[in-house]
Subunit: 219 residues, 2 copies
Amino acid sequence: MRNSSFNNVPESIVGRLASYHRCLKNAASNGQTVIKSSDISKLCGIKATVVRKDLTHFGEFGIKGKGYNITTLSSNIEEIMGLNTEKRVILIGAGNLGTALLKYPGFSGANFKFLAAFDIREEIIGTSINSVPILHIDKLGAFLKSNEVQIAILTVPSQEAETIASQLHNCSIKGILNFTSAILKSDDGKFYIRNIDLSKELEVISFCMKKCLKNKEEK
Amino acid sequence: MRNSSFNNVPESIVGRLASYHRCLKNAASNGQTVIKSSDISKLCGIKATVVRKDLTHFGEFGIKGKGYNITTLSSNIEEIMGLNTEKRVILIGAGNLGTALLKYPGFSGANFKFLAAFDIREEIIGTSINSVPILHIDKLGAFLKSNEVQIAILTVPSQEAETIASQLHNCSIKGILNFTSAILKSDDGKFYIRNIDLSKELEVISFCMKKCLKNKEEK
DNA sequence: AAGTGAAAGTGATAACTTTCACATACATTA
DNA sequence: TAATGTATGTGAAAGTTATCACTTTCACTT
């Protein structure tokens, strides 16, 4: 690989890498061994030239005239994205969205290990979802003391987000995936926070349907 | 407004407009009547100069030396985004994710009207979630014939996505919000499709935690 | 073993987005 | 009513991202 530290990688590329990765996994499970940038293009809805340009940002993984070896490319992307080492994850808020994420196929295949989910509703404490035990939120602090966790997923009601987030300091957590509409900020830069607002999507599509969006037609 | 058609609006601006809109709604519910770009900046985590630049793209909504009238700006954004007319929405796949979306606070306030949800599981047919009736997926075609629906939200298993999407042709639907990991494409350009892959987010955060992301620190 | 086709990689260019410094105009106060 | 402070709006420049035509290299064929 050209550059093993990968500083200054635009977020746009990272998002696409994740798409390529999924695409490669699918192709592999179909028994395919080689894939062309034009195939990835069709499957991911991203132009072939962009696919190639993205990949060359990290090295030369292809075979000219042939395509990319799926196994090789896949493991390279995994290394680039840090998916080759297991990430331990907890989920806070086992409501419908939280449950959906716990049941999501594909997480486990991508080296994410859900250690536990936390909730406040007594009736589900002690049960488990997709083999992930549900603990009471009061146990969160103790759990973080005795377990090394890298990522927390927040699927609590928005108004709880700040309070919960403040409990995640001074532990091993480095990343927060925030699905509440509260916008969390990492004041001290201690962890990386990714805010995902699902309700925003409906508004965006409302605008886009007016065909006012600059149409960047995907190849 | 400078330009009533708003062609060529970058998607990045649209996404931020939705954030501003939410922010304005919150401020209004706190009894605020005026807001400064620097306030919006803090609340949305977007630089104040970006906020102003985004808004001037559509017109001059502010009062110099004072800020923006919340009511005025809010209704302008609603007009820009097409939120001033009611959008009728159906949801296909009333699993955990679908249920989460049906229960999401904020949709109804933004002029989205959920007409019905569709599923295949007999045990929930006839019930309702958040007052939205759940119908059998077999009824989808007939429903679309007798009801004008603008948006479909897809929260079915990924492998069903294509099949379902093909049933959405030749009706009033213009936009599809696809939460499955299948990437749908609008071959004929008949409708606008927005693919949202939640599982991608975990992979992105995995990369970002390595601090390799070009850090565009929000103000 | 040379020729051919096919697809990756490259570097310059174009298009887009963000940033910045500054001009502008409103509201408030004296 | 004039002066002042404050926050918006603007246009140029910087920075970033995508595009495109072209070169390179590999595999396969004859």
